[in-house]
Amino acid sequence: MLGLRLYMLQRITALLMAPLVLGHLAVMIYAIQGGLSAAEILGRTQGSILWFLFYGVFVVAVAIHGAIGLRVIAFEWGGMKGAVLNLFTWAVGIGLLTLGARAVWAVTFA
């Protein structure tokens, strides 16, 4: 249920996410030094094109990567196929993208 295009999309998004995950973890460790507050986080992210791009790319990659991964599990373990499987893949992808994009927007330019 995984042709070359979906395989490549999943591998490329994985390559993108590897440094982003490391960056995310590093900032988390840095940010909690001396307590953590919403104001501190927003102070760093609001109006920042850099953090918007960092987490924006992250969210897009997660949505694509996760949707394809769950597609394979739904097919092999759940017996889902055909149009239902495609619908499921798109629903997961758009769902993750919506949730993530809203959050990114909220902490940067909202």
């Binding site: 995984l2 070359l4 395989y7 092999e76």
Partner: protein
């Protein structure tokens, strides 16, 4: 100490298991046990074998849940106490008892372009082959495959995805891709890039673990993934 009798359970359908008491001998393969049952206890038992020396690839069965050549498996290696359970190969439709329909396995072999794509005619001179070249070494690695379907039965990805071409067919595709005498590169790369292609492999490695010829289909499939990925960047598909 060998027991006097073996308790042999043979799976003869989804709901039917027959149990037989088979005399134990010092030298006895799983195939000998199945043959004893057919010749002495139940002549209606169906199973398949030909060469009995591990060359033909027709006697593979599930032995205690593991796919094996029954002709090359000594019963003492697989006995659980003095009991053994023998069933038809996994992942293939059962015709009767221990004989499975190998058609899906061979159809996928062809679907993966496991056929010769020649460019020369009989009038052309024989092309010299560099025996030590890297591609030839890759191609040689899997030419001992005898199509027994043990890897196909062992593969959990085949079990979950009936469209998946499976380890044997993909390994053959990899062999031909590395064979300088074969001109089917584009056809092979396309054939292994479809929805049932090499990209479905989860690298669980059962094919390589259970291959009675100690071949390594998992690495061959990894090679196909690499080549298709390179081709994806080069020609966009």
């Amino acid at each position: 100490m060998t027991p006097d009798f073996l308790t042999v359970t043979i799976e003869r359908g989804p709901d039917r298991q027959d149990r037989f008491e088979v005399p134990a001998y010092d030298n006895q393969t799983v195939l000998d046990v199945v043959s004893w049952v057919q010749q002495n206890a139940d002549p209606t038992l169906s199973y398949r074998f030909a060469c009995r020396v591990g060359m033909c690839g027709s006697c593979a069965m599930m032995v205690n849940g593991v796919p094996r050549w029954t002709c090359r498996t000594h019963i003492s290696k697989v006995l659980d106490g003095n009991a053994v359970t023998i069933g038809p190969l996994r992942n293939l439709p059962v015709i009767k008892d221990l004989a499975v329909d190998m058609d899906p396995f061979f159809d996928k072999w062809v679907a993966a372009e496991g056929v010769h794509h020649g460019a020369l005619t009989r009038d052309d001179p024989i092309a010299p082959i560099e025996a030590e070249s890297a591609a030839r070494v890759e191609a040689n690695a899997a030419i001992e495959c005898i199509n027994c379907s043990v890897c196909y039965a062992a593969c959990d990805t085949v079990a979950g995805n009936p469209d998946y071409l499976g380890p044997a067919a993909l390994q053959r595709a990899w062999t031909l891709l590395n064979d300088v005498k074969d001109e089917g590169r584009t056809a092979i790369l396309d054939a292994v890039s479809g929805t049932g292609g090499c990209h479905n492999c989860h690298s669980m490695g059962s094919c390589t673990a259970y291959c009675p010829n100690e071949l390594d289909p998992m690495s061959a499939i990894a090679g196909l993934k690499r080549e298709t990925a390179k081709s994806f960047f080069r020609r966009g598909r």
